[in-house]
Amino acid sequence: MKRSLALLELVRMALTILIALLIGYVFLLFSTKDVAEAFKWFLYGPLSSQRRFVEFLNNSVPLIMTGLALSLVFQARVFNIGAEGCLFFGGFGAMLAALEFPQLSVLHLIVTLLTAALFGAIWAFVPAILKAKWKASELVSSLMMNYIAYLLVLFLVNNYFRDKAAGALVSYRFPQTAWLATLTRYRLNSGFFIAVSVAILIGFLLYFTKYGYEIRVVGANKKFGFYTGINVVVTTFWVQLLAGALAGLAGGIELTAMYRRFVWQSLPGYGFDGIIVAILARNNPFLVIPSALFIAYLRVGANIMSRMMGLAPEVVIVIQSVMILLVTAEALLERFKKRIVEREAMKGE
């Protein structure tokens, strides 16, 4: 029975994607004449050249990291959705370390990335402590922290770290010692390897350590956790801090590898995409990797399509949203599932 159910889950996933693509197709019908061509770029674009393939991989790096952050908190049934703010603040932390401690030379990059993680954790500390001490809803406070991070960081960067020589609103350029390497001539973000390793590490933490056990028990039933002797408040507190650190690190990696300045003038949205990644991965850190790759593929495919066809990339957001609606619709194919379960249950006779 387990096998047929797993198969059904796969079929369900495939069907979900197919339906979403179909709806996307209908949208394209309204926005371009050459739908087939547009669709081809959308589906095949990221594979059409090495450069585009690397673009796709690079795009997945922050998504893996934020997807992990959200998987962690969701596993503990904590609805802290402040990854966006943590990422932004973490990016700011990376910039501070990169610009202020160039004398560290060899250690400079490591310190920069650690600072990013630390700043992310600091940002997550606020909703976490509010929850632990005064039972404030982490959903509300973490959402608010996103906007505070955004405006506070913009204010600081634009007033104190702005590179007046640059033609845009960006910070000073990071010294070379704080650069995260990019590989090949298409600039593959080496952060990709960091992200994948972190995913495996977090998966290990969750399923193979006692801390992970605590997190899963708390997520499965808080009352049970408290009754059986787990300090639920402490566990939910730390899980938020760890998630914040991951999101902050995502910001640090993105800036030190891809831009080497603080360049964001609006929220980049990775933190929110991370929610989608986590849901698709069913909060399983190991599945976060394919799930993030999938979202990145959609994003990059849409970009390529809009570049090649002169189309609005908003179309992809519509498709993506439809897909999430369908994925989260548990009842899809429920009838088939029921039939399999019934047949198998009666077979035992």
Partner: protein, 515 residues
Amino acid sequence: MKAIEAINVTKVYPNGVVANRNVNFSAAVGEIHAVVGENGAGKTTLMKILFGMEKPTSGEIRIFEKPAQLNSPHDAIALGVGMVHQHFMLVPSFTVAENIMLGIEPKKNLFSLDFKRMEQIISEYAKKVNFELPIWEKVMDLPVGVKQRVEIMKALIRGAKVLILDEPSSVLTPQEVNELFVVLKNLSQQGITIIFITHKLNEVKQIADRITIMREGRVVGTYRNEELTESQIVELMIGRKFEYDISRVKAVPGEPLLVVKNLNYFREDGAHILKNLSFVLRSGEILAIAGLEGNGQKELVEILTGLRENASGEMLVGGKNVLGAKPWQLRQLGISHIPDDRIEVGSALDMSVAENMISDRYDQQPFSGRVVYRKRSVIEFARRLIKEFSIRVKSPTTLVRMLSGGNMQKVVVARELTNEPKVVIANQPTHGIDVASSEFIRKKLLQMRDEGRGVLLVSTDLQEVLQIADRILVLYKGEIVAHLQNENLTETDLGFYMLGTKRQNPEELKELLTL
């Protein structure tokens, strides 16, 4: 004539549990029909199907010999089927009349209710079926037995000709049970069909006309009451010979393990829930706290296990006051806790049996090194406990959700009794589970006692209390009203204390508590 009938009914739940397999069941007009079986035998599912709460996967329902399509309880009610659930569905702040007429209340005009007419309808009907109700009292001020009668009236006034009762006696005192049976007998003489689920076989023998026995989702058979003895019923329920052999040697109480002094607890709304409780639990004894549900037992247990805060007084373990300590601190002192709610508190339904069994020692050897959690030893340990506690489950990695009530409870008990506890606080350890599992758990508690541990048994099941307790405290409205040695006691003796009609004088109590 058959009042209600299930023909070849099969029900498979979405999680794959087959609750009913080709069940055939019928109840004749005007009979009292008992449905018995172990937990997970499918009794409740069958009743839910008859009442339209669950749709059968296959099979047919007939009501008064006409095929019935039941999509919801509304359909069942319209066809004359009523159900009284184990947990009452009443609005506490409404009066009896308002509760009974809720949704079908007579109106004077668009805005105001016709209370006179309400009273008239209810008292007329009450006279007809011959039972009394305090029509204008608020439901929250009523004793449980009366609340139950309100529920029965609610169903009757909606035209119920078939009345289904899910474990109606489980919340009642012996005296109240007798009153309920008078009411039920009366109703059946008026031509109303009564179907009731129960675990208590003496009640079945006392009142049922016919008995349907279920096992593992099937109907084993339907018998006339006089065809079977109690022990034959048990054999049919569990499918083998059953020895009712709990024997108890006299306790050898040792040093005090848990001393409670002047414990008081006020709820947030100011109600005085626990009033100056003092007692001593010694090693090698089972001290029972008996009482009707809702007399402060829940709060007492939660306070003693660290789940509830803000009590005053003293709770001494090893001479130290640990009142207000957290659950993990109390567990370290060797206090384990079998909670009354295995689903909400006692387990994580979506985790495996193995992972549920180590929740209080996951961070210790051999389940965990410094960081790494050792799955293999967890599984091995679970296998051992599954065997030792004869839990029926396919594998240690099966989710707890898939287990029947009795097996789920055994998972909880297995965990709580195997971490070398000094004190076991067992709150309703066999509530709502089958005979065989109950016996098993009671024997385990006796074994704990004989090993020199202290067991605090909180229970509303008098049979259980009389079977295994050494001393009994009776809790009534948050006070200890009696302290009895379990020698030559009967359920009726306890019943008087539980109802508050009798209490020992303070001198008697004082003397025994300082023992």
